[in-house]
Symmetry: C2
Subunit: 230 residues, 2 copies
Amino acid sequence: MSAVVLFSGGQDSTTCLAWAQARWSNVQCVAIDYGQRHIIELDCARKVATAAGVNLAIVPCDSLRALGGSSLTGTLTVPSGVPAAGIIPNTFVPGRNLMFLTIAAAFAFQRGITELVTGVCQTDFSGYPDCRADTMTALQAALRAGMDSPFTIHTPLMFLTKAQSVLLMRELGRLDLLALTHTCYNGKIPPCGICPACLLRAKGFAEAGLADPLIAASLGPAEPPAAPSR
Amino acid sequence: MSAVVLFSGGQDSTTCLAWAQARWSNVQCVAIDYGQRHIIELDCARKVATAAGVNLAIVPCDSLRALGGSSLTGTLTVPSGVPAAGIIPNTFVPGRNLMFLTIAAAFAFQRGITELVTGVCQTDFSGYPDCRADTMTALQAALRAGMDSPFTIHTPLMFLTKAQSVLLMRELGRLDLLALTHTCYNGKIPPCGICPACLLRAKGFAEAGLADPLIAASLGPAEPPAAPSR
């Protein structure tokens, strides 16, 4: 069985990739080059895919930049701190996940694949309506009807906290992959630590009681472990 | 009230534009530049929009060409004749209408517009699952949920035959606009007359008992009418 993971090289989609690899023998990743301000995202996507041993297709999508309207593709200021509930922050790209999943579905359709995996999550709800379970259910119906294909959109992180997501990755035995991911809205490695995405990530690791391997990796190599005695 | 028409410069979306202008005072058109083989489509879109006095936004979408898989964006041969029922022809771009309507919805969202109009039609069903009413219903639900906005997708042609669509345009008093449209899959003006789109268009005008103003226009100007006597 095969699956397509909508992939960004970030923590959530990397966790989805590991989750998918534990379930399906043929997993392919699709990343979208939509004119991200931080090309580091696609670099991370390549590194993670290579480390995980999966094929990565990068599909361009220039529509979002043309539509404008978000600090993730334009020049607006990224807000610091966690946004207030009920407010759609200016990091919202209208229709972004709808478009990206439709692209992933078209990619899967052409390969006879029906299983789609995405890291959207409504627990750490950031004000993005296209991350909610009801949106995914509605989109799944639209994709099924629109391509006449029995797609299933899997959302393994939908109801997990960031801490539970970190623990899931440990359970899957692939915490190492998270050292290669990025999260920071400001595109920094080491992470800026003050944007909403950094704050959520740090909180998740703290609550899980684990160190973030990205922080360790970006501080340079640790002392090599002593050779095991036999 | 305002509306956004998903616009191609073809017969169907031009009929939708006239239909929308009869209902709403502020109508805007969105055309998608997706790497059509025939750039004539966008030229026609500009001409029709100008003649109708509406704003036209052309939004790029390079994803479909990158995904490949259709004779409308690639180099496959366009089939002649009407496709057999139940067969998805190679002019199918998987997910095309889903993507285009999502782009139109994002465009509308940023302007506070909720009414979307598209010329999809399942009566002259060409084997495209993304033209069906159930797909539009499902997509409308996905767009509403994904952008938290009460979109309505209007499909005035959904259950009309091509002949009824021609008669609707006469009723709207804008048959003149159809002289500026294109339909031919092979990008010809005068139309090639043998591709599925040309055959459907010709059949529609024939059954409506009207001459196609595009044919008349492409054959050159008729004799000027005699000056009216007073």
